[in-house]
């Protein structure tokens, strides 16, 4: 088991009042598994990711990652946060190289790996640019290149492709799937796009509206070496989409009404 989330609750204390963000979440994620989280916005998906990464403490329960309870910053995951975390004072190349440097990769290999990764996310030739000179979608791809270049065994990705247009999104999904098929990392992937969740994941976890609870878990019957361009035309895709939408829609409507 790669990630084991056991009876986790998270309450934020804001202005003297406690507000429940996540309630009794239990989930086991196997090593090498690709899991997607979907749910109405504000249901605590990012909160859960932050707790797996050790940025936030759990209020109750425990999260175990690779056999170790997560306490404090978890350096065994790679985390692509929802907000932009690319360092603005480093060039694109320097950003991608930074974790390689921390992991003791020699200087020459760092440059080669960074270049190759930037090429894969369609940013060849932008290595010398500063993040301020790129679009939001390009910065997301820098973060993706950085994450994939240093190769952590567990990837936490919080709405990584949200800022990309539909075509680019498909290309990035294809890249990610290809890399995952070859390397078989454990991936936790948050998205607000049901189709994206089904296209990529082996399992899709639906969260209820605030406070977030796991409402449904859907096994996606598509083959793991699927083609993201064609997957959406398969009957298995449609079936999964219908069932997930039936679980998700009332939660979104509840959120709208509230």
């Amino acid at each position: 088991m790669s990630i084991s989330i056991q009876a986790v609750r998270k309450a934020y204390v804001a202005r003297g009042a406690e507000r429940l963000a996540l309630d009794r979440v239990d989930l086991e994620i196997a090593a090498g598994e690709f899991v997607a989280f979907v749910g109405p916005s504000g249901c605590g998906k990012s909160t859960l990711m932050n707790m797996i990464a050790g940025i936030l403490p759990v209020t109750e329960g425990v999260i175990v990652h690779e056999g170790r309870p997560v306490r404090g910053i978890n350096q065994h995951v790679g985390y692509m946060t929802q907000a932009d975390a690319v360092l603005p004072w480093r060039t694109v190349r320097q950003n991608v190289e930074l974790p390689l440097r921390f992991h003791g990769v020699p200087r020459r290999d760092r440059a080669a790996r960074a270049e190759a990764m930037l090429d894969q996310v369609g940013l060849a030739g932008f290595g010398g640019s500063f993040p301020a000179e790129l679009s939001g979608g390009m910065r997301k791809r820098v973060a993706l290149a950085q994450l994939l270049a240093y190769g952590p065994e567990t990837l936490l990705m919080d709405e990584p492709f949200g800022a990309l247009d539909a075509q680019l999104k498909l290309l990035m999904q294809e890249q990610l799937l290809r890399i995952w098929t070859a390397r078989r990392q454990t991936v936790v992937f948050v998205t607000h796009d049901l189709a994206e969740a089904i296209t990529l994941a082996q399992r899709v976890v639906v969260f209820s509206g605030r406070p977030g609870r796991i409402k449904q878990i859907e096994d996606v019957a598509l083959p793991t070496d699927r083609d993201p361009f064609r997957a959406r035309f398969l009957p298995e895709f449609e079936r999964a989409y219908t069932r997930l939408w039936e679980a998700l829609a009332p939660e979104i409507r509840r959120g709208e009404a509230a």
């Binding site: 350096q75 995951v77 790679g78 004072w89 480093r90 930074l98 500063f130 993040p131 301020a132 240093y150």
Partner: protein, 279 residues
């Protein structure tokens, strides 16, 4: 034509499109106009000064540009200028260096250990409210009339500016950057080097820019009070003798020194903060 340009671009040659060329030309002509007007303002001021001196205002009070120029020339030839300027510069640079380094290190420390900052906060506020110039006589008692007391005055002034700016800069660091850098495998040292310091750099540079004139002021005030060398000493001697020409010459030298240092810092700032982008 455009096909050729594209081909050249693909080969990596720097191709400047007509739009870029036009924009650059417009920028150049604008800069030339500004420069011309600047020179005109300067010349106009000198002419006014020259005309007023002895005609509307007593030359004893405002001297005259030609006299000041002649005085500066004489100082340059007989070594007076360098003999005094060197000591003022040395004191300023030393004071600036000591003040910056200690202010930066302590600012980082307090920024990272907030409890420390909370404990010391009222004392820092109290000391900060003292006009540091008021310490100058004390420093002269402690360190004598040599260069040490001037260095101490400059350092005391610069220290606080840099300390407070660094501290604020460190407090402003986006915690997300700290977290993600640590998750990627960075230790405390890496976070300091790759996140905290570059993030605080904008604040620190602002502090530097503000404190350069202060460092100069600190030194000169020290020299006013008691010294036997330095531009401040030169000015105060001349004042005692009602020698306004020398006073103006000394002030001009200080203005030039300040301008040169500030220009240097402006370039430094542009380079350090180049990541902010022209946009």
């Amino acid at each position: 034509m455009s096909g050729l340009a594209q081909a050249a671009g693909a080969l990596g040659a720097e191709v400047r499109s007509p739009a870029v060329v036009a924009l650059e030309a417009a920028g150049r002509s604008h800069r030339r106009r500004v420069l011309l007007l600047r020179v005109l303002v300067g010349v106009g001021f000198l002419a006014l000064w020259y005309g007023a001196s002895g005609r509307w205002i007593d030359t004893l009070l405002i001297s005259s540009p030609d006299l000041v120029a002649a005085r500066l020339w004489r100082w340059t030839l007989d070594g007076t200028l360098w003999n005094n300027l060197s000591i003022t510069l040395l004191a300023t640079v030393l004071g600036f260096g000591i003040g910056c380094t200690s202010g930066f290190v302590l600012g980082l420390l307090f920024g990272r250990f907030t409890t420390l900052a909370e404990v010391f906060d009222p004392y820092i506020t109290a000391i900060y409210s003292i006009p540091k110039i008021a310490l100058a006589p004390l420093f002269i008692i402690w360190f004598g009339i040599g260069i040490e007391s001037k260095v101490a005055v400059s350092a005391a002034i610069v220290f606080f500016v840099i300390f407070l700016n660094t501290y604020s800069g460190v407090r402003e660091v986006n915690p997300l950057y700290v977290h993600t850098t640590r998750i990627m495998g960075g230790g405390e040292g890496a976070v300091l080097r790759h996140v905290i310091v570059p993030s605080a750099a904008a604040w620190v540079i602002t502090g530097l820019k503000v404190s350069v004139p202060y460092a100069l002021v600190g030194t000169v005030i020290g020299e006013f009070m008691s010294a036997n060398r330095g531009i401040g000493y030169l000015i105060s001697q001349a004042t005692g003798l009602f020698n306004t020409t020398s006073v103006y010459a000394g002030i001009l030298v200080l203005a030039l020194v300040g301008a040169v240092i500030n220009t240097g810092l402006k370039y430094l700032e542009a380079w350090v903060l180049r990541w902010r982008g022209a946009a």
